[in-house]
Amino acid sequence: MKPFEYVKPNTLAEAISALDAGGEDARALSGGTDLIVQMRAGRNVVGNVIDVKGVTETNVISHSKKDGLTIGSSVPCYRIYNDEGIKKTYAGLVDSVSIIGGTGIQGRASLGGNLCNAAPSGDGIQSLIILGAVANVEGPNGARQIATEDFCTAPGQNALNPGELLVSLSVPEPESNAGAHYLRFIPRNEMDIAVVGVGASVVLDAEKKSIVSARISLASVAPTPLFVEAAGDALKGTEIASDSVEKAAIFAQEAARPIDDMRGTADYRLHLVGVLTKRALKVAIERAENQ
């Protein structure tokens, strides 16, 4: 690895001022499971590493009916999937954070880091998008919120300006009769990168017969995680027993822009988008029905 300066601020203000001082040359370090790999491989040249794990705000998990769920950007995956409240209310989030890497990775890797890394395959990002999560960002010019579907701008690129820090993620409390699921296709059973991933969330009406709203997001089929609004819209107001799931799958396929690479061809990925969208929706609906 190329040499760099390492600092570990204790407060949010210190962290932002260190990031601001470093400018383009600075990167925030949380779990490091992407950043350190990239720096070692020379794909990411960083002059100032700001370890933000000492900042209180990046380490919180708070959950209330009123405010929903807040997860600090440095909270590692294992804390999320071991949290009883999250397990009960946010199954669609647990789906993804429990399959990012193996146990050793989950001991360090954070959901916030997964988002900032902005990989098209990022499993956690899809869950955030379908749950309507927003990113809470602070920088030298103050605080702002970014919808998670707008956060990733290109492979490895995000909407943060130099000096800005992703502090936490806010996930709204699910409405009643809501369900969500994320699944991915991988060649192995564990420790893998999505060939295609699909996240789906639905809200059912009081009778649990028709769909009030839905959100669908796709991994590994575009330069960024892909929120497919049209697919969710296609489900709005339809009965769960109808063929609307098939239609949503077609919308998802139409939105997907996969490429050929070593993990699969574009054709195969498009096919998987269809299969996985239906499967994700089926589980999301089942979860909603069981609410």
């Binding site: 491989a41 296709f185 060649p187 420790m191 990168i193 070593m262 993990r263």
Partner: protein, 741 residues
């Protein structure tokens, strides 16, 4: 059955304690005073002319002690038998990843910085990655001087990129095909795969004050390495010493000199010990992976399922060099014709140079490629004829007195028994759910021959030290030696300590490989123990004045015949006035009539929407001699099967523009613990075997038939066949779609 006390018992590995405590020292753990880090600059091009290498900035970097280019190693070629590999490229680079320059520096970081400061100007040339293209008459020559290379088995009449050809066969092919009711021709391909030992290649070279070349290397054939290095650099073998070290996995891949000749030159120029450890990107890009193959099989068969003719041609992509295989070609290719009694056969295996990473040995070299083709082919014929694949195989398998398709005659042939045992254990024929299928495949392998030595030295505390020149790369040879010595001296296993020898100690050892470890080491350990025992009895007789011809060693005591009169053996050792020891040298290269059969049955479920294969169960049947250590034996079976599963379903080094593109364990997928199905094993006892305990080998047989069994199970499940490994979900889905058209 002879009853044993230590042989056949689940004895704890001799190296176990050091390994579970983290104390076991591997080459990468070694630190010598003043040791430098070596690092290599590699070609980004699959084929290019080197116009200029400017090392001046690297040379000037503080902490750099040597910077070498092809000029510094000019004319040197090395290999395991064919000497065609240069330590550093001279005029041309022949594959992406080839070494172009090297440095030795005081830290890894300085070494890397120095590498970054070397400027190389290349003139990129057209590259040939496809062996079928490279074989054509108008292809450019990768090695115009191939006929001048040391170790080429046979000079080429016309120089081409095809540098070695081996053939096997019998009868008259034309006759066999003329008799046939059906003729089937199919082509099969297998990918470039990595051995995926988790310890990358590493070595330390140090030229000491006596001008001895001291080496520690992750290499499982140190005596061969000594010969190869001596011949390559032109020094006497006696100047070179390979020192023992643990080896973190091998699977055939740790038998090449790899970077040792280069690091010798770095040590020579820097006058310091130099350590070089490949990183795993280098491993995936530029080590010595299993050869990809293209195999065409043409067979003739009668309506009743009798095979009459079998013609096969295996084209191995050797990559840019042929130096990383000790046989120059891969003899396992002949197994494409299997243990079947086919009267008219011809099998041809060729090696072709291409601009890609050089191939090396991996677990049953040539066999997994050949058996995937041959056993896939057999299954397809059976299905075309409407004969159950089990019945079809039983009809054609060799029995006692039958000669195999490529001319081998074995005794105590257990081929059918092994297949039937697998079939029973797998409940072959029992009902299956929708899209679930079973498939089988067979392999056979005799343990290889070789030479080794063992020393047994009694210690004054009542224990015994056993010395071996073999380095245990994980397969358990130390434990084999331990158990044999303990058995023959009537001791418990924990009283025998293994201390490996360096290469000064004995004349030669063939090294581990070819499933020879147990065959050769058990005989040497047996002989050394017997010699040591005779010495002990002689010493006891001298102390007591007993008749040496009538003494018995039992329970740590030497008894006078069948009397109750005894002397404790540690008393003998302490008081005889000399060291009691026995040594042995065994050279056993006999072509055996012993072989070991393996039959494997996979049960898979296919998700027809995605094409994904889920392996439900995997059954292995092996015909075995005396199993020396059941838990070690089982480990070889499970480990081989799991490697076979990876080969079948997920492993492939993908090459784009001549470069390996999947260079991490995230993208080069090997099975994890979560991918392993229920593994069933059934052993068929054979009376036949080698050496004092009637043993057979188990190292390679376990992984060679797995892929074919899985391919056959997929066809059984969904009626489509995939002819190329790995059988990915995408290929299955494509085959399904094609069949529905």
């Amino acid at each position: 059955m002879i009853s044993y006390n230590v042989i056949g018992q689940p004895i704890v590995r001799s190296d176990g304690f050091e390994k579970v405590t983290g104390r076991a020292q591997y080459t990468g753990d070694l630190k010598l005073p003043g040791m430098l880090w070596g690092k290599v600059l590699r070609s980004p091009f699959a084929h290019a002319r080197i116009i200029r290498v400017d090392t001046s900035r690297a040379v000037g970097l503080p902490g750099v002690h040597a910077v070498l280019t092809g000029d510094d190693t000019r004319g040197v070629r090395y290999g395991r038998r064919l000497f065609d590999v240069p330590p550093l490229a001279e005029e041309r680079v022949l594959f992406a990843g080839e070494r172009v320059a090297a440095v030795a520096a005081e830290s890894m970081e300085i070494a890397q910085n120095a590498i970054d400061l070397i400027e190389v100007e290349y003139d990129p040339l057209p590259a040939i990655a496809d062996p079928l293209e490279s074989m054509k008459g108008d292809a450019f020559l990768l090695h115009p001087d191939v006929n001048d290379y040391v170790g080429l088995p046979k000079k080429l009449e016309k120089v081409s990129n095809v540098f070695v050809t081996n053939t096997w066969g019998k009868g008259e092919l034309d006759t066999g095909f003329a008799q046939a009711d059906h003729i089937l021709e199919r082509t099969y391909t297998t990918p470039l795969v990595h051995q995926a030992y988790l310890e990358p290649h590493s070595c330390v070279v140090f030229i000491d004050e006596d001008q001895r070349i001291q080496i520690w290397a992750a290499n499982k054939a140190p005596f061969a390495l000594r010969q190869q290095l001596a011949a390559a650099i032109g020094v006497d073998e006696d100047r070179i010493r390979l020192n023992p070290t643990y080896i973190g996995g091998d699977f055939g891949g740790k038998g090449s000199p790899m970077d040792v000749p280069l690091v010798y030159f770095l040590a020579l120029h820097s006058k310091r010990p130099v350590r070089m450890v490949m990183d795993y990107v280098e491993e995936f890009t530029a080590a010595n992976p299993r050869h990809p193959s293209v195999t065409t099989v043409r067979s003739g068969v009668l309506n009743d399922g009798t095979l009459t003719a079998w013609e096969a041609r295996i084209i191995f992509n050797s990559g840019a060099y042929g130096g990383f295989k000790p046989g120059v070609n891969l003899g396992g290719a002949r197994d494409v014709a299997g243990p079947y009694k086919i009267p008219h056969t011809f099998v041809e295996a060729i090696q072709v140079y291409t601009n890609s990473v050089p191939g090396g040995h991996m677990r049953g070299p040539g066999e997994p490629q050949g058996i995937f083709a041959g056993e896939s082919h057999l299954d397809e014929i059976a299905r075309i004829l409407g004969i159950d694949p089990l019945e079809f195989r039983l009809k054609n398998l060799v029995g006692e007195g039958d000669v195999t398709a490529t001319g081998s005659l074995y005794r105590d042939v257990k081929a059918k028994e092994t297949l039937e045992a697998a079939s029973m254990a797998a409940r072959y024929g029992s009902p299956l759910a929708m899209n679930v299928g079973r498939g089988m495949a067979m392999g056979a392998r005799a343990p290889g021959g070789g030479e080794t030595h063992v020393g047994v030295i009694f210690q004054k505390d009542g224990t015994v030290v056993a010395r071996t020149p073999i380095l245990d790369q994980g397969t358990g040879t130390y434990t084999t030696v331990n158990q044999v010595v303990a058995e023959e001296l009537g001791l418990s296993s924990d009283k025998v300590q293994i201390i490996p020898w360096n290469t000064d100690a004995v004349s030669f050892d063939t090294g581990i490989g070819g499933s020879r470890g147990t065959r050769v080491a058990s005989q040497a350990a047996y002989a050394a123990a017997q010699n040591a025992k005779q010495e002990l009895l002689r010493a006891a007789s001298e102390i007591r004045g007993w008749d040496p011809s009538n003494l018995v060693l039992k329970d740590n005591k030497v008894y006078k015949g069948n009397t109750e009169d005894y002397i404790d053996f540690d008393f003998v050792v302490q008081n005889c006035g000399f060291d009691i020891q026995g040594t042995s040298g065994i050279e056993d290269r006999e072509q055996l009539t012993v072989t070991a059969f393996c039959a494997q049955i996979a049960e898979v479920a296919v998700d027809v929407e995605t094409g994904q294969i889920k392996l439900l169960r995997f059954t292995s049947a092996h015909d075995v001699g005396q199993v020396l250590n059941p838990i070690g034996h089982q480990g070889q079976i499970n480990g081989g099967v799991v490697q076979g599963i990876g080969y079948a379903l997920m492993e492939e080094l993908e090459v784009e523009d001549g470069r390996v593109s999947n260079v991490t364990f995230g993208d080069y997928k090997i099975p994890t613990m979560a991918d392993i199905p229920e593994l069933r094993t059934v052993l068929v006892q054979s009376k036949n075997g080698v050496g004092p305990y009637n043993i057979k080998g188990i190292g390679e047989n376990t992984n060679t038939a797995v892929a074919a069994a899985i391919a056959n199970a997929v066809e059984d499940a969904i009626g489509v066949r995939v002819y190329s490994l790995p059988i990915t979900a995408e290929k299955v889905l494509a085959a399904l779609r094609e069949s529905n058209v």
